[in-house]
C-alpha cells in the first residue's frame, strides 16, 4: 500500500506541474508566434519566455525523485 502511495505521489509531483507547464507554454507559444510574425527580432526573448515555465516540471521531477528515494 505504501509503495502504491509513494508511486502515486511521485506521479502527481511530475504530472501536475507538467500539465501546468504545458498550459503555460501553450499560452506563451501562441502569443509568441503571433509576436514573431510582426517582430522577428523578439526570437530570443520568446525562446526564454517559452523555457521559463519548464522550471515547474523540472522541480516536480526533482521532488518525484526525492519521494521515490
Amino acid at each position: 500500500m505504501e509503495t502504491l502511495l509513494v508511486a502515486i505521489g511521485a506521479g502527481l509531483a511530475v504530472g501536475l506541474p507538467a500539465l501546468a507547464t504545458g498550459w503555460a507554454q501553450s499560452k506563451i507559444g501562441s502569443a509568441g508566434a503571433a509576436s514573431l510574425a510582426e517582430k522577428p527580432e523578439l526570437t530570443s526573448t520568446i525562446i526564454i519566455m517559452l523555457a521559463i515555465p519548464e522550471t515547474m516540471v523540472i522541480l516536480g521531477f526533482v521532488v518525484a525523485i526525492l519521494i521515490l528515494r
Binding site: 526570437t43 530570443s44 525562446i47 526564454i48 517559452l50 523555457a51 521559463i52 519548464e54 522550471t55 523540472i58 522541480l59 521531477f61 526533482v62 525523485i65 528515494r69
Partner: protein, 630 residues
C-alpha cells in the same frame, strides 16, 4: 570584453571642414557624435546648393538600391572597392539608375502579369478544357445567352439550389453544367434563351455567383470568346517568362558592376554630406567630436595629421566630461572566445562601462550543454555535423560562429559521455562493456542533482560577483549586491553545518554572518533586496535542469536500445533503434541549447548584465567593416 573608448575633439578653420570630413571617412575610425551645445557654437547647416545636391543623391540612391536589390546584383557580383568619383560620375550614375530602374520595373510587372495569367488559367483549366467546344460555339448562337460563373459552395448541393431556382423562374428552358475546381468552388456553364436573361440573372444574383475573370492581356472580353486562346497561352507563358528572365540577366551583366560602384560612391557622398551637420561651427572655426578605440588613438592622430596637416587641433576629452551611456560599444575577445559572441548577440549590446559576458558564456555554455547531452555517440555525431557546417560556412560569418560553438559543445558532450559511460545510451555497456568513470546518470540521480545545484551555486555567485563589479561606481548598490552574494554563499554553509555534513562548529558563526549580511542587504536595498535574495536562491534550484534534461536524454536512449531488442527481426530492430536515436539526438540538441541559453539569460545575466549599449559605427566608406584590435 568591451573595447575601451575615448572621446576626441577636432577643431580647425571652418573652410577646412569638408576636407576634414572627407579625411575622417577615409580613416574610418571615428564614431561621430554631436558636440555639446553652447552659445558660441552653432550646428552646421548645409547651404541651399548642398541641400539640393543631397536630395538629388537621395533620390538617385533609392533607384540604385532598387536596381541592385531587384537584379540580385549584390549576391552574384563582388562588392565594389572604394574609388574616388567626380560630380559627372554621380550624374551619369543617377541617369543610369533611372533608366535601369524603369526597365527593371517594366520587367517586374510583366513577370507579375504572366504569373497571374498562368495561375488564373491553371485554376479554371478543368472547366475550360471540359467545355471548350461549347464556349467556342457561343458566338454562333443568336437566340441563346451563355453564362460562365463561379459558385462558392455554401451548405449542401449549392448547384442543385441554382438549378431549382432556374426551374422555378424559367422552367426547363436551360442547360446547366458544372465542374468542381481543385482549388475550391464550382464553375458553372449555363445556356439559356436570351429572352429569359432578366430572370436568369436574378437567380444567379440570389445565388451570389461571381463572374469567372479573364486575364488582363485579353482585353475587356467575356470568357466565352477568350476560352480557346486561354488554354493555348499555357504553353506560351513559360517561353515569355524565360525571355523576361533573360532580359533581367542581360541587365545584370551589362550594368551590374557599374551599379555596385555607383551604390558605393553615392552612399559615400551622401554620408559625407549628412555628417557635416553633426559638427558645430562658429564664424571662423569648426568642432567635430566623436568616439574611437583608445588603442587606435595614435594611429588616428597620425593619419589625420598626414591628411590635413598641422592646422587642426585634436584633443582628447577627459572621462569626467562624458557619461558611460554616451559611449558606443564594440566587443573584442580573444580568438577562442569570439564564436561565443553569437550567443550573446541574441540580446541587445551591453552598456559601455559594464561587462561583456562572452568569456563566461564560452566557459559555461559548452559545460552545461555537455553535462545535459553527455553521450560519446551523440557527441561524435554532433561534432561531425558541426565540422561539416564549419567547412561550408564563410570565415567570420554567423554560421561559422555557430559551427564553432557546436564543436565546443560536442567535445564537452563526448567528455562527459566518457565520464558517465554513455555511448548512445547504454549501447556502449551492452556492446563493449564501456566503463562508468564517474557515475551512471540513470542510477545516481541524487549525485547528479547535487552536482547540478553545486554548479548553479558557482554560476550564480559568479554572476553576483560580476554584479558588484558593474555597480562599483554606485556605492550603495555595490554594497547591496555584495551582501546578497555573501548571503547566497552562506545559506548552503549554514544548512550543511546544521545537517552535520560539515563541522557543527561552523553553524553559529555562519548563522551570525548570514544575519548580518541580510541586515546590510535590507539597509542597502530595502525589502526588495530580501525578495531578490529569495529569487537568487530559487535561481540556484533552477540548475536542477542540468540533471533533469540529462536524465531524460539517457532514459530515451536506453528505451531506444530496449525497443530494438524486443523485435525478433534484426533489421527491423536496428531500424527502430536508429529512428529512436535520431529523434533523441534532435531533442538532445534542442533541449540542452534552449536550457543552457535560459540559464545564462535569466539566471546568470540577470545578476549583472546591463543592456542598452549603442553599437560603434565608425564614419567610414560604405561597405567597409571595422575589425577591432587589441
Amino acid at each position: 570584453m568591451i573595447v575601451e573608448m575615448c572621446r576626441v575633439r577636432i577643431m580647425g578653420e571652418r573652410d577646412a571642414l569638408p576636407h576634414v570630413i572627407e579625411s575622417l571617412q577615409d580613416i574610418g575610425l571615428l564614431h561621430l557624435a554631436t558636440p555639446p551645445q553652447s552659445d558660441a557654437l552653432m550646428t552646421y547647416k548645409l547651404d541651399e546648393r548642398q541641400e539640393r545636391h543631397r536630395r538629388y543623391l537621395r533620390r538617385a540612391i533609392q533607384e540604385v538600391d532598387y536596381c541592385v536589390e531587384e537584379l540580385h546584383i549584390g549576391q552574384t557580383q563582388p562588392q565594389a572597392e572604394y574609388a574616388k568619383c567626380t560630380l559627372s560620375d554621380l550624374s551619369r550614375w543617377a541617369c543610369l539608375a533611372r533608366r535601369v530602374s524603369r526597365e527593371v520595373g517594366r520587367l517586374k510587372s510583366t513577370t507579375a502579369e504572366l504569373e497571374e495569367e498562368r495561375a488564373l488559367i491553371l485554376k479554371y483549366r478543368s472547366f475550360l478544357s471540359g467545355f471548350e467546344a461549347v464556349l467556342a460555339g457561343d458566338i454562333k448562337w443568336s437566340t441563346a445567352a451563355v453564362y460562365t460563373v463561379m459558385l462558392q459552395g455554401e451548405g449542401a448541393d449549392p448547384v442543385g439550389k441554382v438549378r431549382e431556382g432556374l426551374e422555378t423562374a424559367i422552367g426547363d428552358r436551360f442547360e446547366l453544367r458544372s465542374r468542381v475546381l481543385p482549388s475550391g468552388g464550382t464553375a458553372l456553364l449555363l445556356i439559356a434563351p436570351a429572352s429569359t436573361a432578366t430572370e436568369v440573372e436574378r437567380v444567379l444574383a440570389e445565388a451570389r455567383v461571381e463572374d469567372i475573370p479573364v486575364p488582363v492581356s485579353f482585353g475587356a472580353v467575356s470568357l466565352a470568346p477568350a476560352a480557346p486562346r486561354m488554354l493555348g497561352r499555357l504553353s506560351e507563358i513559360p517561353a515569355e517568362l524565360a525571355k523576361v528572365a533573360e532580359d533581367r540577366a542581360e541587365l545584370t551583366r551589362r550594368y551590374g558592376s557599374e551599379l555596385l560602384r555607383a551604390r558605393a560612391c553615392i552612399h559615400d557622398r551622401l554620408d559625407e554630406l549628412e555628417a557635416q551637420p553633426l559638427s558645430g561651427v562658429t564664424r571662423r572655426a569648426f568642432v567635430v567630436e566623436g568616439w574611437l578605440p583608445v588603442a587606435q588613438r595614435a594611429e588616428f592622430n597620425e593619419r589625420l595629421g598626414d591628411a590635413c596637416g598641422e592646422a587642426l587641433m585634436v584633443s582628447e576629452r577627459s572621462e569626467e566630461e562624458w557619461e558611460d551611456d554616451e559611449a558606443p560599444v564594440v566587443l573584442h575577445n580573444p580568438r577562442v572566445f569570439r564564436p561565443f559572441e553569437a550567443v550573446g548577440s541574441l540580446l541587445p549590446l551591453p552598456r559601455y562601462g559594464t561587462i561583456d559576458p562572452t568569456p563566461y558564456v564560452a566557459l559555461f555554455f559548452p559545460l552545461f550543454f555537455g553535462i545535459m547531452l553527455g553521450d560519446v555517440g551523440y557527441g561524435i555525431v554532433f561534432a561531425a555535423l558541426s565540422y561539416g557546417l564549419m567547412r561550408r560556412s564563410r570565415h567570420g560569418s554567423t554560421l561559422r560562429q555557430i559551427a564553432l560553438v557546436g564543436i565546443a559543445c560536442a567535445v564537452l558532450s563526448t567528455f562527459f559521455g566518457v565520464l558517465f559511460g554513455e555511448f548512445f545510451g547504454d549501447l556502449g555497456h551492452r556492446w563493449f562493456d564501456m566503463p562508468v568513470v564517474l557515475f551512471d546518470r540513470a542510477e545516481a540521480l541524487q549525485s547528479m542533482l547535487i552536482i547540478a545545484i553545486g554548479i548553479g551555486y558557482v554560476h550564480i555567485l559568479l554572476g553576483l560577483g560580476l554584479g558588484v563589479r558593474v555597480a562599483r561606481h554606485h556605492r550603495r548598490q555595490a554594497i547591496g549586491r555584495g551582501a546578497m552574494a555573501v548571503c547566497v554563499g552562506l545559506v548552503p554553509v549554514t544548512l550543511l553545518s546544521m545537517l552535520r555534513v560539515i563541522p557543527a562548529g561552523v553553524f553559529v558563526p555562519s548563522w551570525v554572518a548570514l544575519g548580518i549580511s541580510v541586515g546590510i542587504l535590507i539597509t542597502a536595498e530595502g525589502l526588495i533586496g530580501l525578495i531578490e535574495l529569495l529569487s537568487a536562491l530559487g535561481n540556484v534550484l533552477s540548475y536542477a535542469r542540468l540533471m533533469a534534461i540529462g536524465t531524460a536524454s539517457v532514459m530515451l536512449a536506453t528505451v531506444a536500445n530496449e525497443m530494438s531488442t524486443l523485435v525478433p527481426v534484426a533489421f527491423l530492430g536496428t531500424l527502430i533503434a536508429v529512428l529512436f536515436h535520431g529523434v533523441n539526438f534532435i531533442l538532445g540538441l534542442f533541449a540542452p541549447t534552449i536550457h543552457a541559453l535560459r540559464l545564462h539569460y535569466v539566471e546568470f545575466f540577470g545578476k549583472f548584465y546591463s543592456s542598452g549599449g549603442k553599437p560603434y559605427r565608425p564614419f567610414a566608406h560604405w561597405g567597409s567593416s571595422y575589425q577591432p584590435t587589441a
